[in-house]
């Protein structure tokens, strides 16, 4: 135990090199030289010296990172303004009034909306490398940081995961601002609060926390900030990093943080009182607290009719159990409990298995592993080769293996059913947990039969009920049972029935809507019209 602690102990950050300069110098050339030297003469950073003012009396230095800025913007609104347009105006009067060139430029010359004055050297580098333009003055220890950010970015496209037939087809992109804009487009409410801070000592990745003030529980918001503030790593390259650093339970196959590419899902989550974490550079936005049932809800459930959505959802739960238990149940029944299979089916099964040289467990293991390998290969392969793999997988491994007598055709059916069922879950990371657990269940089935599977299920449920996501029990509203939330678990009530937000996630602002059941008003049915619910 002690050794482990020592092994994983945090090492002190050791900054190499010369001592850093906290503030800007008072001289332009010194500043420029220092910045150039610190950046090691990186070629993508552009340094430009020029003069402005009536007689060229003001010496200026411009620094920006090529590729991260809008070139036209710098040409037109910084260089052109300063070098040609102001030259024609006389500043005599102003100069006397504002005794410094710095104030003069700020008030009259820089025609940019987003601008900041900075003095610290750290900030200079931070702004410069995040795409802002730094304007330095001679004889002045302050600098302008002008927002000129603009780089090549992926456009808003249809999300590659969680596609829908009906519903919005926009997906998040890698740019934080685009993502927050996508959320703002959906929720035009002043209570949608978005706050961001850089995380990662080296990458300085912007991480934004978005929530509906007044709907999200204050405790959970506080908890999210607490966990985010605890993070001390050098790099955040994807929201996966954040997920792993803030999740409740590391040693669990089940995800306790939800992620999605769909802005509408995130907007819906925010309106339920959940909290979104958007990470710059990742199209996958995190949503907490994440509950077990959330991984069975798809955005489309709410866009289709309620009855159809309910049917689809039941199919999803069914396929969860199929994906988890089909191979193990097959193993258990064929090896231990033949007496439980109806006679005619048993005869058919055993005649198939007659020539198979392996026990059912080995057979299932081979086929499941083969499938996993195929799937993994299919994900990584270039598209052009992908079709070849599917032919090899389907023909060679399926048909040929049966014909060669290596596996029984019943096993092929079982494995295919399992494989298809495991992709039904709308969340990819939940499907992974099912696939992992499946092998455990197969081992249990091979050693203890039905009894082993049953105990495995009990252990799994014990583990599931012990999980929490940001303080909210993972299996709620099933355990602890919340009656009012049953409307969106297995069934999806009609929209007028989804009148309250989920309990536990939010405690205060519960009423979501006050629509009564839609009915034709002209008929005499109106006498039976429901009374509107009272608002709290």
């Amino acid at each position: 135990m002690f050794k482990w602690k020592k092994l994983f102990q945090k090492k002190e950050h050791s900054e190499q090199g010369k001592e850093s300069v906290p503030y800007l110098y008072n001289a332009l050339q010194k500043n420029m030289d220092y910045i150039k030297q610190t950046l090691g003469g990186s070629t993508d950073v552009v340094f430009r010296n020029f003069h402005a003012g009536e007689d060229g009396s003001i010496k200026l230095g411009l620094i920006f990172t090529d590729g991260l800025v809008k070139d036209d913007f710098i040409h037109d609104y910084i260089l052109k303004t300063l070098m040609s347009e102001i030259r024609e105006t006389t500043f005599k009067h102003s100069v006397t009034k504002h005794n410094s060139n710095f104030d003069l430029l700020r008030k009259y010359a820089l025609t940019n909306a987003e601008m900041e004055v900075i003095e610290e050297m750290d900030k200079v580098f931070n702004h410069l490398l995040s795409g802002k333009t730094i304007l330095l003055l001679d004889d002045c220890s302050k600098a302008f940081s002008i927002d000129s950010r603009g780089w090549e970015a992926r456009k808003v496209e249809e999300p590659s995961s969680q596609a829908v037939v009906r519903g919005p087809k926009e997906g998040f992109t890698e740019t934080l601002r685009t993502n927050t804009a996508l959320l703002r487009r959906r929720i035009k409410d002043p209570n949608l609060w978005i706050k961001s801070k850089p995380i990662g000592t080296k990458t300085q990745t912007d991480v934004a926390v978005a929530y509906m003030n007044g709907i999200a529980s204050d405790e959970i918001v506080k908890e999210v900030y607490k966990r985010l503030n605890k993070i001390d790593v050098d790099s955040i390259l994807d929201s996966g990093y954040i997920e792993e650093l803030i999740q409740d339970e590391t040693y669990s196959p089940f995800p306790t943080v939800y992620n999605t590419e769909r802005p509408d899902s995130i907007a819906a989550g925010l309106l339920e009182g959940r909290i979104a974490i958007i990470v710059d550079g990742s199209p996958f936005v995190l949503l907490v607290p994440a509950l077990f049932i959330q991984f069975f809800q798809s955005a489309e459930d709410y866009y289709q009719r309620a009855d159809f959505a309910t049917l689809v959802r039941i199919i999803r739960y069914l396929s969860f159990f199929l994906a988890l238990l089909t191979p193990s149940a097959y193993i258990a029944l064929t090896t231990y409990h033949q007496e439980m299979i109806p006679t005619s089916l048993l005869i058919s099964l055993s005649s198939q298995r007659e020539g198979v040289p392996f026990p059912a467990f080995v057979e299932a293991l081979i086929m499941e592993l083969t499938f996993e390998i195929l799937r993994e290969a299919g994900v990584r392969l270039p598209k052009a080769v992908g079709s070849a793999i599917s032919i090899v997988g389907a023909l060679v491994l399926g048909q040929a293996a049966v014909e060669a007598g290596l596996v029984s055709s019943a096993m092929v059916i079982v494995v295919s059913l399992t494989a298809i069922s495991s992709f039904v879950s709308p969340s990819f990371n939940f499907a992974i947990s099912i696939r992992m657990l499946r092998f455990g269940f197969m081992v249990l089935a091979a050693t203890f039969g039905l009894y082993g599977i049953l105990l495995g299920v009990i252990a799994m449920v014990l583990h599931l009920t012990s999980l929490r996501s940001f303080g909210v029990p993972y299996m709620s509203p099933m355990a602890p049972y919340v009656k009012s939330d049953q409307k969106d678990v297995i069934l999806r009530f009609p929209r007028w029935g989804l009148f309250s937000r989920p309990r536990l996630i939010n405690q205060t602002n519960i009423i979501r809507e006050d629509t009564s059941k839609p009915e034709p008003t002209s008929t005499k049915r109106k006498f039976f019209k429901r009374k509107g619910r009272k608002k709290k």
């Binding site: 231990y336 409990h337 007496e339 439980m340 299979i341 109806p342 203890f448 039969g449 039905l450 009894y451 082993g452 049953l454 105990l455 009990i458 252990a459 449920v461 014990l462 583990h463 009920t465 012990s466 029990p473 299996m475 099933m478 355990a479 602890p480 049972y481």
Partner: protein
Amino acid sequence: MTNEKINRYQLFTLIIFFELGSTFLVGLSLNAGRDSWIVLLLSLLGGIGLLLGYLKLYSWYPDLLFTKAVIKVLGRVVGYPIALLYCIYFLYMGARVLRDFGDLLAITILHGTPLFVTITLFTIIIGFGAYLGIEVIARTGEIFLPWALLMGGLFIFFVYMMGLPQLHNIQPILNDGWSNIWNNVFPAGITFPFGEMIVFSMLYPYVTNQKKLSTTSLFGLFISGLIITLISVTIVTVLGPSWAKSSAVPVLDTISMVNLQDFIQRLDPIVIILLVMAGFFKIALLFYVSFIGLKDLLSIPNNRRGAFVIVLSLLLITVSLVMSKNYIEHTEVGLKIVPLYIHVPMQIIVPFFLISIAIVRKKLAKN
């Protein structure tokens, strides 16, 4: 005391599972033959009487574990050994039920697997549950209860739809006289499973709504008593009194009679699943109760509870293995000796004295 809490619904769930636990296997009073349902209903009445006593005792010492209440009533010198004895009693009961299930599996679905292995696997899951705490066990119960009710409902539905129950199997009523009934009600019927409600005296401090606690537990006991009676009547009417008496697992024999057009048949897995599920909760609760009692009495710190669970689990396995040589001996001891010499003192005599002493103490305190 930890801040774990269970609500009323969860308490109800646990009572149902606990009462039905091993009852399907051995506690259906099938020895009474035709009149087993009268035996069960009378035992239920007796059980309710006992439960009222336990609840009264708890209402005098609220928010205290039963073992703590014992020490408070009897004083440290006398109370401590008795409290310790109760913990051992709970663990022994757990081991007994565990053995029941080990034997059940050996004679039904896992013929060749050694008893040691099945019992160990079961104990691992139970220890895991006890380690995670009562909150988790209760929530797990909440998730499984609808499924258990569904499967139980299917069992009853198919048996009755097939027209298997024959009313003449329980007629004439009271053929063997009242003495037969009385012999089965006391001690076996009352103490097992209804008197085992004493276990919940250890869990009441965890319940959130203390006011409605008595109602919930009485209601839970009543419902589970009715379910047990229904199952018992079903079995006797389907199998007939003599077969029901001699069968090793009468529930399984009953369900195996179901064969609907060769389409719905071999429903044994339903019963096995139901049995193991309920059995898990029964053993887990007994184990957990003994665990928290001993943890409190031996003042074991919370961060050492993992190790303590392992120790107790090993003890549980050992006790249930050395308890008896075979299934016949096990059930004979379980139905003839244990109720009279273990259950009666622990469930009736000691609580009776506790209540009497508590009353006397109250009177003295008033004066």
